[in-house]
């Protein structure tokens, strides 16, 4: 990202391969915003690597004209970690899904998050297995009927944001596939953040789980079911900003601003650097379809923390070990204790 080259356009980040996603898939929007963000960040195609696992979303690297590796199921985070540790100067992005990152790759996910390598993770969550044709995923809602849950899912779903915060995440965000503008801005913030950035995208699968996020996208309902987080701003939602959230001790409470004397200034002010509040926000996870009283689902940046990255700490150790010069091959071969035979 130097000023010495003209910035590329989103088109320059388009590869010669035709995306093979289904018509209407939420993945198209992510691809478009990602390329636009890379262009706006003035990245060079040769300095970017997109790493993925397996699943519909993991086809992402093929469609971006940068370096890319499409790996094996669940292991994108591990592969990206090795690449970033070896080559810290590269801009490494991970494309992964709810099955890839949270089921088969769950272990790599939590450990990558805690290590805090500077990776930008785009986690496509469609609450279903698409590529294998419609089995339920670890984020599917209880009761969802699929080919492998004909009587309804009985697994309690993973709350991605809570899991990520629990694992020690330093950049935790959620965005809706159709909120292109917000997505692009969050991608840019994720890139700027030095550490593992997790961007969970609610992505609609029109074939196997159409409308999974309907409660948050339906025109009539979304004002009451969604909450957009803005740094330094009060938590306000509802049509015309008629509702707000206030913290009553540790208990978040919905306030009807029109019916009460509480003003916006008295509401919970979003502070993306407050881990305790972020943890509470992550628990805004009610299903508006199954309960009358629910907290709105937050979108935006939950939490940001400035913490050292794994690769910088490792490089610092190497620099220190090499303070008096790098070891030579002769020294390596001889080791610390030798003797001579004449």
């Amino acid at each position: 990202m130097t000023d010495t080259h003209t910035c590329l356009t989103a088109k320059d980040f388009t590869s010669n391969q035709e995306p093979k996603w289904c018509p209407g898939c939420g993945d198209f929007s992510v691809l478009q915003q990602l390329k636009a963000a890379m262009a706006e960040l003035c990245l060079k195609t040769e300095e970017v690597v997109v790493v993925s696992g397996i699943g519909c979303s993991s086809r992402l690297p093929y469609y971006i004209n940068t370096y890319g590796v499409h790996g094996i199921h669940g292991r994108a985070m591990a592969m990206a970690s090795g690449l970033k540790a070896a080559r810290p100067e590269l801009s490494v992005w991970v494309g992964t899904g709810d099955g890839d990152a949270l089921s088969i790759g769950g272990n790599h996910y939590i450990h990558t998050v805690r290590r805090n390598l500077d990776l930008n993770v785009v986690l496509f969550n469609n609450e279903i297995y698409g590529l294998t044709k419609g089995q339920y995923s670890p984020t599917s809602k209880v009761g969802l009927r699929t080919v492998t849950s004909p009587s309804g899912v009985v697994d309690h779903p993973i709350n991605t944001i809570a899991l990520t915060l629990g694992a020690g995440g330093t950049f935790v965000a959620r965005v809706m596939d159709r909120d292109g503008k917000m997505m692009k801005e969050i991608f840019k913030r994720a890139h700027a953040h030095k550490g593992t950035s997790i961007v969970e995208i609610y992505q609609n699968c029109p074939i196997f789980n159409d409308g999974a996020f309907g409660p948050f996208t339906d025109k009539e309902r979304k004002a009451d079911t969604t909450l957009f987080l803005e740094q330094g701003q009060p938590l306000v939602f509802g049509s015309n900003g008629s509702k707000g959230i206030r913290l009553d001790g540790f208990k978040p409470t919905v306030i009807d601003l029109e019916a009460s004397s509480i003003s916006k200034d008295d509401l919970w002010i979003h502070d993306e650097n407050d881990l305790i509040k972020a943890n509470i926000l992550s628990r805004f996870f009610d299903d508006p379809n199954s309960t009358e009283e629910f907290l709105p689902r937050p979108f935006g940046i939950f939490y940001v923390e400035d913490r050292f990255t794994y690769e910088a700490a490792l490089d610092a150790q190497i620099d220190k070990a090499q303070e008096k010069g790098e070891g030579t091959l002769e020294e390596l071969l001889a080791g610390n204790s030798t003797w001579t035979i004449n």
């Binding site: 592969m79 690449l83 790098e326």
Partner: protein
């Protein structure tokens, strides 16, 4: 072992060509440390040397019991030292349990140096002998030469004036025993004194106490009447090639081999790894080589170990991962990815007894077929097997060379026996090491034709185009790739072509590996003993002894298992019979039969123990009788 007696003025010195010693005691007695000190001394003295630790898999087993016995075995000598010795000539037994656990491996008539104070009622009961049956007193050891030394009393006596606590003084008892042994084998104390000085440089009183204990033990040997009728021994230094030496275990050698390969290739070494017995020392050693720019990544699991390495290799590092059997099983999917990505990767598998957790601390050679065939799909990969602790260095080095120059994952097999054994290594000079030449695709301009990441050279090797290079932007993955472009392809003919090209590339590695040479014996004859891996020392010794006995037998040892050396088939045809001893149920045998359509004789040992030369010599004798 030809022994000659020389009468000195004061004592008799018996010259020996090689001696095998076992240091055995309770886990807390410091036997590993004592054995290591002795090994360093004989190494610097110029002996040939081979050591092997034998410790319980539990970290703190009950003190005084047979389960808690820790041993350190070594053989040193003037010639013919290829193993730590099948049986010991001398056993140091610090307590009753140590004697009980190891007596069956002491040569008939061998020497026992026993700490008589480790044979008190408590120790006799814990060991299972029972307090009424002290083997030092009841005549049951009459066939051995037994020296009973009250080690604790003598150590306390020697260190009485140091002012140190009894607890600290008692910890010096192993140094007292070491001193006795130095006297008995006419060895100098300097190496140990220097080591103690540097180890305790900030605790001078401890250093002094330990040094005093070693000297006291040595002087005890001089003064006591105990040894006078037996004399002492002398083992002349070996006729070794002159030069600089260091002592390495197999695991250390593997680690240094990788680091040296990276240096020689001008690459950065990256090791993604998860701790596992008996392979962890490779990760531990490399973690300490930051001065050489080595990056180690202790991953969350075995799978991440190999996948982080694949990521690093994609980025242009010399990448490696190390493990043992259960871990290799977990890495197989990742190894298949490395095969189809065609990127360099070294996998060091330190084999142990299996299946499952099996015998984690015991060696076996039973992962050979998994190394060869244990991946889904057609996924051939070069396989190299190290034959000695020092050879672990060269095997890892060569694995790295093949990986980088052929753009392929390479499996390097060692085992728990090699991993923990040590021997002197003639330190090579950098110039003596084979060149390793990575070729990175150069930058391309926008009007150059498109980059073809899977365009192969005449050896079927594809180029290494690494991120950060302008003009090479490309996408690769685990899906089958179109010939040359590397784009995803499901075309049937293309898959057949790519499968064939990947196999041809591995077969072409045979062009740079040396012909198999005989280690011993005639070029044609009755019997060839074909070994691989850590059986080298036992087979070598067995064949030497059989040949001394007039038998027509030869020995060749395979290091390159995939592909085989080009002359292997012809060599096998020169003998009436081929014997393949393996610490498995006949895995190499199966490969040889499959490839060359011959029927070798197998000889299996799956006891979690290495072969000894007597077993192999007996087998050779049996086969030749039947011919």
């Amino acid at each position: 072992m030809s022994d000659t007696a020389i009468l000195n003025k004061n004592d008799m010195v018996i010259s020996k060509t090689s001696v095998s010693v076992l240091f055995a005691g309770d886990s807390g007695d410091g036997m590993q440390l004592t054995g290591t000190q002795f090994a360093n001394t004989v190494a610097v003295y110029g002996s040939d040397l081979n050591t092997f630790p034998n410790f319980p898999s539990e970290i703190r087993p009950p003190a005084g019991t047979v389960a808690g016995v820790s041993g350190f075995q070594l053989q040193f000598g003037t010639t013919g030292v290829y193993t730590p010795g099948a049986k010991f000539d001398v056993m140091i037994a610090m307590n009753a349990a140590a004697l009980k656990a190891n007596l069956n491996n002491l040569h008939h008539g061998g020497i026992i140096i026993a700490d008589s104070e480790g044979f008190d009622a408590k120790n006799l009961n814990l060991s299972g002998y029972g307090e009424a049956n002290n083997p030092l007193e009841d005549g049951s050891l009459n066939d051995y030469t037994v020296f009973k030394i009250p080690v604790i009393s003598l150590t306390r006596q020697a260190l009485a004036e140091t002012g140190l606590s009894i607890k600290i003084i008692d910890r010096c008892k192993n140094m007292f025993v070491l001193g006795v042994l130095y006297w008995l084998y006419s060895l100098p104390l300097e190496t140990t004194i220097e080591t103690l000085q540097s180890k305790f440089k900030n605790k001078q009183d401890i250093a002094d106490a330990n040094i005093k204990a070693v000297k006291a033990g040595y002087n005890f040997g001089d003064e006591t009447e105990m040894f006078s009728q037996h004399g002492r021994f002398c083992v002349a230094p070996a006729q070794k090639k002159g030069g600089l030496y260091r002592r390495v275990t197999g695991n250390e050698a593997s680690a240094i081999g990788l680091a040296a390969a990276a240096k020689k290739a001008g690459l950065k070494l990256f090791l993604g790894s998860y701790p596992i017995t008996p392979a962890s020392e490779i990760l531990q050693t490399l973690a300490g080589l930051k001065k050489w720019g080595v990056k180690t990544f202790q991953a969350e699991d075995e799978i991440a170990g190999v996948l982080t390495s694949i990521g690093a290799a994609y980025g242009g590092a010399l990448a490696a991962t190390n493990t043992s059997g259960p871990g290799l099983a977990l890495k197989t999917e990742g190894m298949g990815l490395a095969v189809i990505l065609e990127i360099p990767l070294v996998i060091i598998n330190v084999m142990r007894g299996g299946p499952s957790t099996g015998l984690p601390t015991k060696p076996e050679q039973s992962d050979l077929l998994m190394a060869m065939y244990g991946r889904h799909g057609e996924a051939p990969m070069p396989v190299i097997a190290a034959m000695t602790p020092v050879d672990c260095f060269y095997a890892a080095y060569e694995a790295a060379k093949i990986a980088v120059e052929y753009m392929t994952p390479v499996l390097c097999l060692t085992d728990g026996y090699l991993a923990l054994s040590s021997e002197p290594m003639l330190v090579p000079s950098p110039d003596e090491l084979a060149s390793i030449t990575p070729v990175f695709s150069p930058e391309r301009k926008s009007d150059d034709p498109p980059y073809l990441p899977y365009k192969r050279d005449e050896r079927c090797v594809r180029p290494w185009g690494i991120p950060g290079t302008p003009g090479l932007e490309h996408r690769i993955g685990g899906l089958e790739k179109q010939h040359e472009t590397g784009n995803v392809s499901h075309d049937p003919e293309n898959h057949a072509l790519m499968t064939r090209l990947r196999a041809e590339k591995i077969a072409n590695v045979a062009d740079i590996i040396p012909d198999l040479t005989l280690d011993n014996g005639p070029e044609k004859g009755d019997l060839l003993v074909l070994g691989w891996g850590s059986t080298y020392g036992a087979i070598k010794k067995a064949v030497e002894q059989a040949r001394e006995g007039g038998l027509d037998v030869a020995h060749a040892h395979l290091r390159y298992i995939n592909p085989f050396p080009k002359n292997l088939g012809a060599m096998l045809g020169n003998y009436k019979k081929v014997l393949i001893p393996e610490n498995n149920c006949g895995q190499l045998l199966s490969m040889i039969r499959d490839k060359f359509l011959i029927e070798p004789v197998g000889f299996s040992k799956v006891q979690g123990l290495p072969f000894n030369e007597m077993e192999i010599e007996a087998k050779i004798t049996d086969i030749l009788k039947e011919l």
